[in-house]
Symmetry: C2
Subunit: 701 residues, 2 copies
């Protein structure tokens, strides 16, 4: 890292200007910081001449002591610039440039023991990050943040892509509305009824004059998640921190700082998706070795439970207690998915098709009445059901060169999980597991805490650290949405933390536009385990009675495209082997597609409408392209000018078939091959709710 | 166990009497159960003709469903009797007789899905135990107890020995008052301001006509502690359960039951102390081996911190963070108690005088600002300070035949402790520790939970189980008061859970009556680690400035007597080696006195006034006698008729010296020897705040 101080106005120099202005490295953005005559700090942001954020207040409400929001003076101003590049362990690109100008304003409150807080801004060409820092000081040692008073005041009534501010779930479909129309009252809560004008981040906004603004946070550590309360009259957004069990937001000890508040901004939608600002604002990993971390594709005993062909539970009883139950005495229900024979079938399939691993859910005792009872002792993470033979499967998988992926559903009894984590990871290492999918369904124990509160944030991060120390990769479901911490914990391959493909199996599903919004919202913070790849779109085939009218809200071809458009280093081939075996020609794309990349090009993008992305597979000359649309059929014109000039490639195009549409004819697809070069332009015909996937492999010069 | 059914009135027999009456095995007590015309259950208790409890309501308030307190019918009545004896792993007596009559009334609520609750009464000659049981049933599976409605309606304005109903601390001096005068408003709270008319159990009561009544509970498992709200007009007591973070009391799953509510009653105070009712109502241990459990005496690096001669902390800094601090770089304050050389001094002393173990507090990093900040990451339980050499001390102690006792102060960050317990116990086993003193100072994390709530109750019990599985003995400080669970977990040697001797070092202290009340209150549930044996009564000698006016509120001789009158299988010789070395003649009693017993005789007792107890050492013919008084000087006439007739013994009497008194001349003692037999009567002169200790060893027939 190089750090070039180019401006320093320290307190002892006498008067410090009450306003400070910084321009981004190539002057695209301008940040201004200002102190009012009453000592109230504000900031504002411009994109060229266009206002991104109007003057917006900064401040902190502390418990039992005066707020840090007025009566402040500028004690010191530090400015610097920074420019370097770094290599992620895995990712969408091989190298990431981290280039910003920094402004750190030290504010002092003379009326309150001279308490100090630093507001540190990092201004990039594609956005702004800023955070509050509390230096070690006599007047502020241990303290409690009651609420954060940060504002993001928008200049107009932008279009917003939002989900309700539920403290415990982010598994919502997005509502697209003007800011003035934000109102989640009619939306059925997934877990917790929220204030109707509260929304979650990442919040994607678009102005009428074509500016794309994304609000989120980076490096969420030891602090609750940020939500935003919308002023539907003035279009101001104000921070709302998820409370702890006591109602307070964060228990802190100086020196400490908040996460970065992030504003990604561009007049081109693809640039929002290409932004690495959030990753750049995270700390590099402290793990000495990372070569054991493997991006991967996997299948799993999972979708067959969602489509009511099998069950997580072994017996159809209820009112089970973990302690004192003799599991061998339970009467099996005859359709328990995680049985040794069935798992071997998945192992065989993975081995045959070169997929790295097999997830098995429902392998361990406790699923008979695991959810909804706010019960602490549900799972022990080490006791298999009688029909799941751990050593036998370990041997079998090893003999086939396949890894088993562990599953730890906690049912949100997190105290129970924490006290058993040591033993659970020892069990994993003993039986050859090197990756775990965790789950947090239900209400949190410690009771009164929330999925997105400080205590749980610390839990997720501690789990990333602890699994990392054990050389275990982790994929967290029902966790807080990511904030780029996979830079710090590269073993934290992905999270769910949004409405995944599974909702198509047992709810009204995800509307066709859903996957065009996710990259602009949830994925801004990090990879998602969306579980794409459902081929059997209509689910009645699996269980006519229980799946009546259920279907995935895309075409089959779009399911393929998602492997490219929804970036993740861990991608499930989520459907059943028997579904794939009927369409092995289409399955070839899933076999081929990479999960780690040297380069990524966002070619066409508009949130809520369409997205076309091309990626270059790590260490190869192969490219993979995904193109998706919402409920509108579209023709996408894709220039392949990112290919190496002079090289000829064979493109295999997995496209929607004649007459395809997500609702009436979702499984019609056609596969064609053609030679392409950097001069080729593809015209991809996307059906309503459809998509196209393209593999592009060099065949010669 | 034998169980002889002697009466069965089942539902199918038609009418069941709305009133049921049971007499105790020798008819001392009579219990009546009755259902009002409105289906409200009540019970009452008589001692001979004297009412102990007037008709008192029973019931449960449940969250989100109708209360179980009226509209009930009797569905079934089961009666039985029981009589056997059992051997505790350690204790006050060798054998315990468990003889009771049982009445189990199954109540049904026709208006609420026929929900059932069983009230099970066990009537002993020395008291009553009863509990609520929730059988497995369709209408009541998972449920939440909002409050328990059990009443204990006393017939008159009894004298009560009470402490305030603080959810988080029991470290109070006792107030002796009429029930009508119960009011804790003027009492400074230790942790949490309580309702002024709320008191804790064990609650000791005495009627004007000489009946002693003790209210408490037995087998507190998966349920919050019981407190009592006093009706100061009608002298009724009503149960109040300590709430969880959500405000509800208990999260339960049927089949489940409450702890036993206990009423020990006698017209003789010694019989209250001799009662084994609470132990009998606990479950036998499930540990296969218990021979590794060793009652013991110990010294420790501890009191020197209390008397400001040394510190727990290594450095005099504050604002330390567990993670990221380089402890070797801290500047030592020069008076850190837990340094290798000092610990060796204690090991030498223990070895020389035959004490089994040495406790060391402040050995591990984190004490610089450990308390009062509601901070989660304070201690890691495995990292010693730079001046504490774990392997060296392990070797040194082993070479001297002494055990080191581990110390785990959690600072009430219990989530932090739980996630580190596995590693902490592995560390202990690795370095030869087989006993741990735990501590819970401060506010509980999970924030919002209380020391005496269900979540913490489960924690203590789980810790007893987990230490037991690791063959580790445990002594818990700042835990919930015991309820006889040491029968189930005999490795749970003792708890503090009351105001210990330490308060004499840094507060107004414990009044001289304190130790005469403790056996009738706190000790009813189990042993206490009171830490007796302070010889240097006036503390200014250790640190004139900081200990100005501080002293222990007893004579030296009374400190000796406490080893007998306050039963515990783990007894500290709490003072510094240099204090003992100046009084080795008196120290001889501490060396001699047993910590495990074949027999116990409560000879003279009156709560708040005096107590004389004799105990026969396990497996020997030696007896040890302790006699204490409150602030009144007394002569106690003690018949030694418990000695074996025909045997001559040598009694060594450690008595208050001429002119001794706790405040003016506390360290005056004299030691005399005399031959005694079963026909001897001793006259023990106890000074104000004084006592006497007597060892009685056979010298021949």
């Amino acid at each position: 890292m190089k750090r070039l101080p180019f401006l320093l106005l320290a307190g002892f120099m006498g008067t410090i200007a009450q306003a400070q202005t910084v321009h981004s490295p190539t002057n695209k953005l301008t940040l201004s910081f200002q102190l009012s005559p009453g000592g109230e700090p504000t900031y504002q942001l411009r994109f060229g001449a266009k206002p991104v954020l109007k003057p917006s207040r900064l401040g902190m409400l502390l418990q039992g002591q005066p707020a840090l929001d007025k009566g402040l003076t500028i004690a010191r101003v530090d400015s610097s610039q920074h420019d370097d590049t770094w290599q992620p362990v895995w990712g969408e690109v091989k190298q990431i440039r981290n280039r910003y100008k920094e402004l750190a304003v030290t504010l002092q409150q003379p009326t309150s023991n001279g308490r100090r807080v630093v507001v540190r801004f990092r201004l990039y060409d594609d956005g702004l990050g800023f955070r509050y820092e509390f230096p070690q000081q006599p007047g502020l040692s241990y303290f409690v943040v009651q609420q954060e008073l940060t504002e993001f005041n928008l200049p107009a009534n932008h279009k917003a892509f939002w989900i309700p501010g539920d403290y415990d779930s982010n598994e919502y479909t997005y509502t697209t509305s003007r800011l003035s129309e934000v109102n989640s009252a009619p939306i059925e809560p997934i877990q917790l009824k929220s204030d109707p004008k509260r929304v979650q981040t990442p919040l994607m906004l678009k102005s009428d004059d074509g500016l794309y603004v994304n609000l989120h946070e980076a490096a969420l550590v030891n602090y609750p998640a940020l939500m935003l309360d919308v002023d539907t009259q003035a279009f101001g957004l104000r921070s709302h921190l998820v409370p702890s069990a006591t109602g307070a937001a964060a228990y802190l000890q100086a020196p400490e700082h908040t996460p970065w508040r992030t504003v990604v901004v561009s007049d081109k939608a693809p640039e929002v998706l290409a932004s690495k600002l959030i990753l750049n604002l995270n700390e590099p990993t402290a793990f000495a070795a990372t070569d054991w971390i493997k991006p991967q594709k996997f299948v799993g005993v999972w979708w067959e439970m969602h489509v009511n062909k099998a069950s997580w539970n072994y017996a159809d009883t209820s009112n089970i207690k973990l302690a004192g139950t003799d599991w061998s005495k339970l009467r099996p229900n005859g359709h328990h998915g995680a049985n040794t024979q069935n798992v071997k079938r998945y192992i065989d399939f993975a081995a045959k098709h070169g997929l790295q691993s097999v997830l098995v859910e429902g392998w361990n005792v406790g699923w008979e009445d695991w959810a909804g009872n706010w019960k602490e002792e549900v799972f022990d993470f080490v006791t298999p059901y009688p029909d799941f033979n751990v050593p036998e499967l370990q041997q079998y998988a090893a003999s086939k060169g396949v890894k088993l992926m562990m599953h730890h559903e906690t049912s949100s009894a997190v105290t129970n999980y924490e006290r058993r984590q040591d033993a659970a990871y020892r069990f994993m290492k003993q039986y050859g597991y090197d990756a775990v999918k965790t789950g947090y369904v239900g209400r949190i124990i410690p009771r009164g805490e929330h999925h997105d509160g400080q205590w749980m944030v610390n839990h997720y991060n501690r789990t990333a650290q602890k699994t990392g120390e054990n050389q275990i990769m982790v994929d967290m479901h029902e966790s807080v949405r990511p904030t780029g911490l996979h830079r710090t914990y590269p073993n934290w391959l992905a999270s769910e933390a949004a409405r995944g493909n599974e909702f198509n199996a047992w709810s009204t599903g995800n509307p066709p536009e859903h996957e065009t919004i996710l990259p602009f919202t949830r994925l801004m913070g990090g990879p998602m385990d969306y579980t794409p790849g459902i081929f059997q779109i209509k689910l009645e085939g699996w269980n006519p009675q229980r799946n009546q009218g259920k279907q995935v809200h895309t075409t089959l071809a779009k399911q393929l495209a998602l492997y490219v458009t929804l970036y993740s280093p861990v991608q499930m081939a989520a459907d059943l082997p028997e579904a794939y075996e009927q369409h092995l020609d289409a399955f070839q794309f899933i076999k081929d597609v990479a999960v780690d990349w040297d380069d990524t090009r966002i070619l066409l993008a508009e949130p809520g409408d369409y997205l076309t992305t091309a990626r270059k597979a790590k260490g190869t000359e192969e490219w993979y392209l995904g193109s998706i649309t919402d409920e509108q059929a579209r023709t996408q014109t894709v220039k392949l000018d990112f290919l190496t000039p002079g090289t000829t490639y064979e493109a295999t195009i997995y496209a929607d078939g004649q007459g395809a549409s997500w609702d009436k004819n979702p499984m019609a697809y056609r596969i064609r091959k053609q030679k392409v070069t950097s001069k080729t332009t593809l015209k991809l015909q996307l059906a309503a709710g459809g998509g196209a996937a393209v593999s592009i492999k060099p065949v010669g010069k």
